[in-house]
Assembly symmetry: C4
């Protein structure tokens, strides 16, 4: 029986995992991508009460349909993965495949559906479980180059990001503590503690400025001014680092993706 199914399995594995260039792979990829986007949209819209009341049945039906598709996808991936020599051993190979990050995301995408069937969940857990469905968005990682670019950038700039986040944190603690000391007397309810003042610090140094907390004393306003003028630069650094890294990376990809007109392969420089 095995020899019969082997070519089917290999073809299936190539279609599902290859992200290949042939029509079938592309059709499967686009279909799954579309389904994921619709799923995210559905989870988001489901929380709007008026839509839930009006289209609750539709949402539920779509959820069942999605889980059926994603479950089938998962089972087929499990079955076909032995076509890859890395996972060739029927049990251990499949287990190793299951523990890969992408396969775990695939599992997490369907598990929340089956959980309530297996055990009783109270309402709060139920809501959390429903939300976990949103992380189906991470299944996109398989098809989306965009998320890959960002993962790579974060990784290559991790040192710079760590240093800036650390320095920003030190600045936040110092500035917020001072502000707490200055404003606490005038606004004991608002600047009730250093953590409360840190919420002011975050709103100010990121320039979000909701307006729920701000200094009212002259000393507090002077400190607020100094914090803003110097601190905003500190909090803007991660953005600048990511930005320049992204531009560099996109440039590198363009350079790389020059395809040789003779052999059809990419020309590395």
């Amino acid at each position: 029986m095995k020899p019969v199914s082997e070519p089917v399995k290999q073809r299936l594995y190539a279609v599902l995992e290859g992200g290949g260039a042939d029509a079938a792979s592309r059709a499967v990829g686009v279909s799954l991508m579309t389904l994921i986007v619709l799923n995210v949209l559905s989870v988001v819209l489901e929380t709007v009460e008026s839509l839930q009341v009006a289209y609750g049945g539709l949402f539920r039906a779509f959820e069942v349909f999605s889980v059926v598709v994603f479950s089938a996808e998962y089972v087929l991936r499990m079955w076909s993965c032995t076509a890859d020599e890395r996972y060739a051993r029927p049990v251990w190979g499949r287990l190793r495949f299951m523990l890969g990050p992408l396969a775990l995301v695939d599992l997490a995408a369907i598990l929340p559906f089956y959980l309530p069937l297996v055990m009783r969940l109270d309402l709060r857990v139920m809501r959390a479980v429903r939300l976990v469905r949103l992380f189906r968005i991470l299944k996109m990682g398989r098809y989306s180059e965009a998320l890959g670019v960002f993962r790579k950038i974060f990784w290559s700039k991790k040192e710079e990001l760590l240093i800036t986040v650390f320095a920003a944190g030190v600045m936040l603690v110092l500035v917020s503590s001072l502000m707490f000391f200055i404003e606490n007397e005038a606004q004991p309810k608002v600047f009730s503690s250093i953590p409360a003042a840190m919420w002011w610090g975050v709103a100010t140094l990121t320039t979000v400025g909701y307006g729920d907390i701000y200094p009212i004393t002259t000393a507090g306003k002077i400190l607020g001014t100094l914090s803003a003028v110097f601190g905003i630069g500190m909090f803007a650094l991660p953005a600048g680092i990511l930005g320049s890294a992204f531009v560099e990376e996109m440039h590198r990809r363009r350079e790389k993706s020059k395809i040789c007109p003779h052999c059809g392969k990419e020309i590395e420089e």
Copy 2:
């Protein structure tokens, strides 16, 4: 009769479409540009009730005057376009000319005026029609190099913009859903659904921070802090990409516009 009008037609076409360097072309260009700016100003100010009450007649008169000029411009463009060999055939050539993007904008600039004369419109449509006049601003595209620069930049960076907007969207959905889950209990009216939480997400990640919606629980504030520190970078990327592209493009234009001192033509490098 045709041979008589031909040189007139060619001259007119050159003046209207050439955007040429001779005095007449420039005068026509500047006049139309001024009229467009005044038109936009008029549409904007007309919506201020006190001005509408005081100067309603003036606004109406200016509108009629503008439409007369723009209509004349449109008719003359239609008539003279056959001077261009691309649109030389009297009927099909003119039709092709009419369907060009700039000619469509010209048509859209005058149509709203004639519509109520031809058919009855209810009040809401009437208001929309009046607003459409604002898109006369797009007629500037013919004369303004600035809009051309931006069109080119958007086009050349479309890949980077798409990726960043997509990644920002993914981040927005994840962050807002988490925030909804955290804050919904404490502020059921404000964080009533994920779309509502997304409005918070947009206000925070763009650092606009109107202050109509923000977290009040400790967990929510911690999530808000993390979202702001990391997410602002993501939302600031499109700005950074457009900015560097714009600087590059302006640099390229300057290089290009070096004029040969002997022949008066631009020197391409």
Copy 3:
């Protein structure tokens, strides 16, 4: 008598206008700079009622002292300017000197003081006149290199700044008009006209977000999101252009200011 005062005049002119490197010039420059800073501080603090009540006499005395010094400075400049061959003719030379931008600023710095002595001013004009004293800050232009750097940058990037400001303006008009059309029905008081909606547009696209005006309908929030994500880039461009121009300019100055160790002159590269 003239031959006697001539060397004095030349020395005085060099001290006042040279911004030279000798001790006297530097002392005069620093003194005047300090006086200007104290003046600005005084005008600013004078408007705080409690300080005005407590130290009104001091403010007045300092004002009189400042005007005496600035008047003396002005008169001495007028007298000594003929030492410069460009302004050598006693009457016409002095007139030409008086009409230079820096001399006009000097005049504007003292005129507001003498005006009320010459003619009756009503209270509102009086307040305006008092405020004009603040423009003494521009006298710094003579001594401050910083303002010179910015003037040069603004000038060299005027084309880019104009284009971006124009494009930002077009975007602001389009976005605000649409928002007016969408929100006017739900918030007729807040989004009462397109100019009112433009105030929203400015607050949003600059990310200031005071929170006095924002959309509340779903359509308005979607438009607000799109405006923010794409428009912020547009409004951030001038900052980016100025920033990179400033860094370039500072770099150029450093390169330039390499002084030859033998002749003491700058080495141009």
Copy 4:
């Protein structure tokens, strides 16, 4: 007795000050770093009343423990510093060591604890003293490279930062004074003085926009728009300067930290 303790002293000095690569130095460094972070956390959380009520004893105990450790560290540093030839003289050497910036920070980290034991402090001073403990965060400067990077950047760009801060200050004064003049009549309570208007100016030009103060007149809104469009660039300059300097510095460090595979030393290029 001295010859016996000498090697111990030298070893201790190396461990405490060397920041060396051997296991003991690293263990001491990591332990002290952790203790500092926990200290900062403790000071921050202590100000939350509910935590103070619940875990007050724990906070106090941890404070005593920390001071014991930091005091021991300080005493050991004092004792061992004579191992360094720069501080070799028992009294004068130790005094010079004590007056170094890092040793002063170490002293400031423990002094607030001993102060109330020595003299009576009123409540307000007591609170200030408690806050000073936060500056233990600066002890990190010894171990953290991140703070060193920032110190270096600030120093190398001090000229650019000074110029931009000065220019931003001039702009702030001019814009705020004008706004005070325009809005004072309509909002005498809010725009009560130029300093009050400067708080508006800071909130606007940094784009924080708390929403506690904003113009309501048409003239004020127009000035606000112009200030925002042009001024934000000015206030964003320090961020841009710091950002590019940081990227440069990190790049330089990477280049530098190439280690020679033969001799184990860094290769300078």
